[in-house]
């Protein structure tokens, strides 16, 4: 595969695992890397792994990773040819992509016009419609009064959703299950919308129940080639945050996959899309699919597609940005086996997902057949409250779904993170649950299906074992402390009072090691 010609050095305008992911793709292609970091991230792995690193500013994102002006300035100073925005932060800001271009830098992503068009809900739907992508019925007309709302509802069929045009956060939204409810619901929604947004306009949408979130990975180059790389199933979400993703999706068959892939490609062409992007669909139980939105960036869950297709999406992004044609054609893309991703976050699933801020004391990462870990955590890593709580993506591959699940269960068990709470135990529960195994889960299931809720009682109670181990720990410290010598097992003498003694003995140990090595 050809190396890059225009891009010799890339600035990565992000942090965490995705910054590392981009650095790795750059390394594979022989491209130099420039990291940027906030004051909180001085010791972060992306800083340590990059060829160069520059401080952006204080920890809050608005003073660091969202400072597009400063990032562009650094890119110029460091002599970078291109900027990769990762996901989140500046990745879907059309004005940042434009500013990069204006500064003579290559933005590794779509053209600003495509970001802007797809970022606007109404325009995105118009584009989708023009490209022949099915939309949820009844979607883009405001209802004048309750009578016209009732007419639309009768046409598209109950249940329907009344939504505020200016809306967001569920305000001005009503579920209507029958014609008798529509007048009251319409009036309440209008009232609520004017109160919340100063504009009472509402529209109607067919309410789809028990739907799956299925998204298609797209790749487009600057030579007019657009391909789809298959789908990802991302229905398991909590507060709009995905927890588990997989590829392929159990909800599709080949015929449906091709139909969805074709319309996704058409939508990308319609908007003049370039680089990696994703079209999200809702899929109903009767196998209808509807356009939801387009994400104009690299997605968190891209690894499951990489594992099933064997292709490197990030490296391909760099080649596309370099001006090269896609290195594969549609017919070259073969999905093989099954892949699953678990997003591990620093939250306590058994305590209402309370963020777990603190220091990661130790990690024991999983390895072995079919396991990939994309993480920026290291021993001593501080989980700060300034950034997203996701600390790792654990991805497995198997020749079929069953094997991918078995490997994920094995990897989750191997993966030990000490010092903070993580969602690993919850992922173990989810993977073992009947709904997950059978595929009987939908976008709302994590909130509504009791079988998929974190259940502290389902965990093995190992209190007795923990009590014994703590006693053994104290016994060992006492023995070491009393004897005043380090045991041959590497037990450092210390007592429960503090760790000054520990540090001293660590130096003693180190000295002994040095002596031994000299021998």
């Amino acid at each position: 595969m050809s190396k890059l010609t225009r891009i010799k050095k890339v600035l990565i305008a992000n942090r965490g695992e995705i910054a590392l992911r981009v650095i790795r793709a750059c390394r594979d292609l022989g491209v130099k890397t420039v990291a940027v970091y906030s004051e909180a991230d001085r010791k972060a792995l992306h800083v340590r792994q990059a060829d160069e690193a520059y401080l952006l500013g204080p920890a809050p994102s608005k003073d660091s990773y969202l400072r597009g002006d400063k990032i562009i300035e650094i890119a110029k100073k460091a002599g970078a040819d291109a900027i990769h925005p990762g996901y989140g932060f500046l990745s879907e800001r059309a004005n940042f992509a434009q500013a990069c271009q204006d500064a003579g830098l290559i933005f590794i992503g779509p053209p600003p016009s495509a970001i802007e068009a797809m970022g606007d809900k109404v325009r995105a739907k118009q584009i989708a419609r023009a490209a022949g992508v099915p939309l949820v019925p009844g979607i883009d007309q405001e209802a004048e009064d309750w009578q016209s709302a009732a007419e639309t509802a009768a046409r598209i069929g109950y249940p329907v959703l009344i939504k505020a045009s200016a809306g967001g956060g569920g305000k001005g939204m009503r579920v209507v299950r029958s014609a008798e409810e529509i007048q009251g619901a319409f009036e309440a929604a209008t009232r609520e919308a004017s109160g919340a947004f100063g504009y009472g306009g509402v529209y109607l949408e067919k309410m789809l129940e028990n739907v799956k979130h299925v998204e298609f990975q797209l790749m487009a180059d600057t030579h007019g080639n657009v391909v789809y790389m298959g789908e990802r199933e991302s229905s398991l979400q909590r507060r709009n945050q995905k927890l588990v993703e997989e590829a392929p999706s159990q909800a599709l068959d080949d015929e449906m996959r091709q139909a969805m892939g074709r319309v996704a490609v058409a939508a990308a062409r319609e908007v003049g899309y370039v680089n990696a992007g994703t079209i999200e669909f809702l899929v109903t139980q009767d196998r209808q699919f509807y356009f939801m939105e387009m994400n104009t960036r690299l997605q968190v869950e891209h690894p499951v597609t990489e594992l099933t297709t064997g292709l490197d999406i990030v490296a391909e992004q760099l080649r596309i940005a370099d001006g090269q044609p896609l290195s594969f054609r549609q017919e070259d893309i073969q999905s093989r086996g099954w892949s699953i991703e678990c997003r591990v976050t620093a939250e306590d699933p058994f305590n209402n997902f309370l963020p777990s801020v603190g220091t990661v004391r130790r990690t024991v990462p999983p390895t072995g057949p079919g396991v990939r870990l994309d993480s920026a955590v290291y021993d001593g890593y501080e989980v700060s409250l300034y950034y997203d709580p996701m600390i790792a993506k654990l991805i497995t591959w198997g020749s079929n779904r069953e094997e991918a699940i078995a490997r994920m269960e094995r990897a989750l068990e191997e993966y030990q993170i000490f010092g903070i709470h993580t969602t690993i135990p919850y992922h173990q529960q989810l993977l073992a649950s009947e709904p997950f195994r059978s595929g009987d889960f939908y976008t709302t299931s994590l909130e509504t299906n009791p079988a998929l809720k974190p259940d502290p009682a389902a965990r093995t109670d190992q209190r007795e074992l923990a009590a014994i181990m703590a006693a053994l720990f104290v016994e060992q410290r006492q023995a070491a402390g009393a004897g005043g010598v380090s045991g041959k097992n590497g037990v450092s003498g210390s007592n429960a009072e503090g760790n000054t003694a520990t540090e001293k003995n660590a130096w003693k140990e180190f000295g002994r090691h040095e002596m031994l090595r000299r021998v």
Binding site: R239, R362, Q462, L465, A466, A471
Partner: protein, 172 residues
Amino acid sequence: MLYYSQIDGDSLKVEIYTDPEGATHVKLPDGREMQVDFQPALGEDLFSVMVDHQSHQVHIEPGENRGEYEVTLDGQVYLVNVETERQHRLNALAPRQNLQSGEIQIKAPMPGLVSIVAVEVGQAVEQGQRIVILEAMKMENELRAPRAGTVKAVNVQPGQTVEQNKVLAVIE
């Protein structure tokens, strides 16, 4: 040696002794005995432990208070209080605080911004009732009453930024 390990108020007497061959054993009050092998695996906090040849990996670190240890086993964190026999006797003489009827402090589990204070001083609260909402990491975190009682103090106001472990409210 004898140790008293406590988790969530439950106490377990753990006797640890070495047999003539040098193997370590644990004896529990119900008569069960097991052979153990407790070996540091990495640093001073990660251990490989064999209990009757069942292999476990455990992380143990001293907690915030004296005699308190954080034991992480299969992804679960247990807070264990360990007393030596001597400490146990001394503590037995000291008056005990009854958790069921004493004061409970609602502390900030992490630094954050207080967005809602849902109770007032003097108010009766049910177990599980919302006390404070704390914003951190882009998320709202609901802090609830661990048991029923009366709000004795409220130390914060909405909009206030708090450090970790700040006592937000007291219930008695």
